[in-house]
């Protein structure tokens, strides 16, 4: 009998401790939406993994917030992303970290705007993602911002005045950056001497590089992902053409292209908010954890998503989000909170205005001896 009483007492004590904690602790249900299968899976997996590292850290630290991460695959498809979004809400998500890529994010964000659901995208960079929607915020720069920042950087550092542009005219990311680069470049007195296009299927860049060489360009601007960029560098090396190649964040990853001679990338400059070889303590710790858990070096997308989780937590703290709050209710509170918070993460110190675009300092890195070195 004594035993029984003792057990009951112990149980009551345990329960009271639990309920005391329940008042304090908040469980946030965050859904990560990104392409974890299909052609853009590299990016979706990077954001998912980056977010997982941040969630592990926050849950292990045992602070006020515990995070439950829901992962949904959108296949980089504007039809499927709506399904992923709906599935996430069915699973009880309160806010969305996603979508990773621009077009799906644009579609899901619009749906979220109608339903009043808060979106923070780690890496969807087109302006259409945030246009006309008060519920979508970005961790990364918008494409136009990258284009004008690149032109500004080239002009400020007097890298040259004769610029050739090679871009993918079937790609939103590439055309978006090219448009503002050309516009801003004209204002700053950069002379565009050659402009050549390619599409996703292009594998031979002899013509494009040849035109740039004939026009005597000192700088070749490459607003594209790293796969075509690696082919362009190879072609230029074959032609013994040595301008300054200037890329944007999509160029991140060029050193890990299989079968690519990394010495060709020597001297290439790129605009990126994150380099894995940085000496920064936060970055070092993140890269070490990432390598241990997933056995690969994180790319910028992973860092964006890692920051994204911390931004959501900071906004939730400011907005006073509780465990059982519905997404519709949380949305407006989070929107207000986003304009007030300042978060320092792996990709810089960030603030937001009501447009949803982020403000942070652009940074350019140069590849020296096979590693990124930050310029100031």
């Amino acid at each position: 009998m004594k035993k029984l009483i003792a057990m009951v007492l112990a149980l009551m004590l345990a329960l009271s401790v639990c309920s005391a904690f329940a008042e304090e602790a908040v469980t946030l249900k965050i859904a990560h939406i990104g392409p974890t299968t299909g052609a853009a899976a590299l990016y979706g997996l990077a954001t998912q993994h980056g977010a997982e590292i941040a969630v592990d850290e926050i849950n292990a630290a045992g602070g006020k917030f515990t995070i439950e991460l829901i992962n949904e695959d959108d296949e980089h498809n504007v039809e499927k992303v709506i399904n992923a979004y709906n599935a996430a809400l069915d699973a009880g998500a309160q806010m969305i970290l996603g979508s990773t890529t621009s077009k799906p994010c644009e579609a899901a964000g619009a749906q979220g705007y109608a339903d009043r659901v808060f979106f923070l995208t780690p890496s969807a960079s087109s302006t259409a993602v945030i246009e006309d929607k008060d519920n979508v915020f970005q961790v990364c720069f918008t494409d136009p911002n990258q284009g004008s920042a690149s032109a500004q950087y080239i002009a400020d550092h007097k890298l040259g005045t004769k610029v050739a542009v090679i871009y993918n005219n079937a790609d939103v990311y590439s055309t978006g950056i090219r448009d503002t680069f050309v516009k801003k470049g004209a204002e700053l007195g950069l002379e565009i001497v050659s402009e050549e296009t390619f599409t996703d299927e292009t594998t031979d860049f002899t013509v494009q590089v040849g035109k740039a060489q004939e026009a005597g360009a000192e700088i070749v601007f490459l607003p594209m992902y790293y796969t075509p960029a690696s082919l362009i560098l190879k072609t230029a090396a074959d032609k013994n053409y040595k301008p300054i190649f200037f890329g944007v964040d999509g160029m991140d990853g060029i050193l890990s292209v299989e079968g690519f001679d990394t010495s060709l990338a020597e001297g290439v400059m790129l605009l990126t908010p994150f380099v894995a070889t940085s000496e920064d303590e936060k970055v070092k710790s993140f890269v070490a954890k990432y390598q241990e858990k997933f056995n690969e070096t994180p790319i910028q997308f992973a860092a964006d998503a890692y920051d994204g989780i911390y931004i959501l937590v900071a906004a939730a703290e400011k907005a006073g989000i509780t465990s059982d709050m519905a997404p519709e209710e949380a949305c407006d509170l989070l929107i207000d909170a986003m304009k007030e918070i300042e978060v320092t993460g792996l990709t810089g110190t960030m603030t937001w205005d009501e447009s949803g675009a982020v403000t942070k300092t652009p940074m350019a890195a140069t590849i020296v001896n096979g590693v990124y070195v930050f310029e100031d």
Binding site: T36, T37, N71, E72, D73, N77, V78, E79, K80, I82, N83, Y85, N86, A87, L89, D90, K103, E106, A107, A110, Q111, A114, S126, A128, E131, D132, N169, A170, D171, V172, T175, G176, T199
Partner: protein
């Protein structure tokens, strides 16, 4: 009533009955809010894919031509729908969304039909593999053309530009090259989707059971024999091809106006193959089969979400298993035996028709 007629009537009744019953059940679920968000969000795409599958079945199953460019017609419909809807809103301030949707769907169908005729004239003179290759090329051409198409509205007037974005500053973009159709106001509804399916079924089932439909099937079964009987092969193949193109355009408009954005990469060769899979799985020339397989294969990847990383792998395995089981004589015999009581119910005394002698 002859046996064949009776059989056809029963088949049509089952097809219409199932579609209507599914609609009523789903409407009831929406009204009582017992439907999950996930399923509700898929209703309009499912309607579009059903219309796509049934219309492609008309070409492949009934007229016997392998067309690999069906997604091309769908994209014409989707873009036309987005442009027409945006223009009606800008020029006439038409707030009635259903009317706008219906007009957009009709416009999508008409334009896809015009392209169907243009493609059909040279293509349908080709046979077999050649036709497949040319339709494939057509789909890719359409995709590349819309990639460099810029359309906007200024003061209620449509402005077009090709290759380069040479539009005045004050335009509101409707189609923005590689960015696709942008800022669409989603107006598609499940009810309109359902009506579109019913119209498709009426058109297709009436066509295949008409004199023209028998001519179409005759050209499939034996081209030479049909020609020697005085059937104009090109004309009847054209009839099936253009009808399918119109329906695909309508499905495309419904599909495009369900989302806030449409991109050219949604209508690649892969998408055409996807629709082809619906048709093959459902059975060539089997309209009800197309409806069921389009629904099943659209919903399946969503149901498999709990498999997380292995989802697409499981999807592929399920697809292979279903294909094997539906075409294996042993499993078919078991299925026939299972469904025999139901068949008997419809056939009444004609018990001898069950099992053997099952003319397709």
């Amino acid at each position: 009533m002859t046996k064949a007629k009776r059989k056809r009537l029963i088949y049509n009744l089952i097809t219409f009955g199932l579609v209507i019953a599914a609609f009523l059940i789903l409407q009831n679920m929406i009204a009582t809010k017992s439907i999950s968000r996930s399923l509700k969000g898929q209703l309009v795409p499912i309607c579009s894919w059903i219309v796509m599958a049934v219309s492609l079945n008309l070409v492949i199953g009934f007229s016997g031509e392998l067309s690999l460019g069906h997604a091309g017609f769908m994209s014409i419909g989707a873009y036309t729908g987005a442009i027409v809807s945006g223009w009606l809103l800008a020029a006439f301030d038409m707030q009635d969304t259903t009317l706008r949707l219906v007009l957009a769907i009709v416009a999508g169908g008409i334009l896809a039909g015009i392209f169907g005729v243009l493609i059909g004239i040279p293509v349908l003179r080709l046979r077999g593999d050649y036709l497949a290759i040319v339709t494939l090329a057509f789909g890719e051409i359409i995709r590349n053309l819309v990639n460099v198409l810029y359309v906007g509205t200024a003061d209620g007037k449509l402005q077009f530009s090709f290759l380069n974005k040479n539009l005045p500053e004050n335009v509101t973009m409707l189609v923005d090259g590689a960015k696709g159709a942008v800022k669409i106001k989603p107006i598609s509804t499940f009810t309109v989707g359902f009506v579109l399916i019913i119209i498709t079924l009426i058109v297709v089932l009436n066509l295949v059971n008409s004199r023209a439909g028998r001519a179409i099937q005759a050209t499939r079964d034996n081209r030479i024999a049909a020609e020697s009987m005085g059937v104009s092969v090109t004309r009847y193949k054209m009839m099936a091809f253009v009808t399918a193109a119109v329906l695909a355009g309508m499905a495309g408009a419904l599909y495009g106006l369900n989302s806030s954005t449409v991109v050219p990469t949604q209508f690649t060769f892969n998408q055409s193959i996807n629709v082809l899979v619906f048709v093959v799985l459902g059975g060539l020339g089997n309209v009800l089969g197309s409806i069921i397989s389009a629904t099943f294969l659209t919903v399946l990847p969503e149901v498999l979400r709990e498999f997380a990383d292995y989802r697409m792998l499981v999807y592929a395995v399920v697809l292979i298993l279903v294909m094997i089981f539906t075409n294996n004589p042993t499993t078919r015999a078991i299925a026939n035996r299972l469904f025999a009581p139901i068949k008997n119910l419809f056939h009444g005394k004609h018990k001898e028709s069950v099992g053997g002698g099952d003319a397709k």
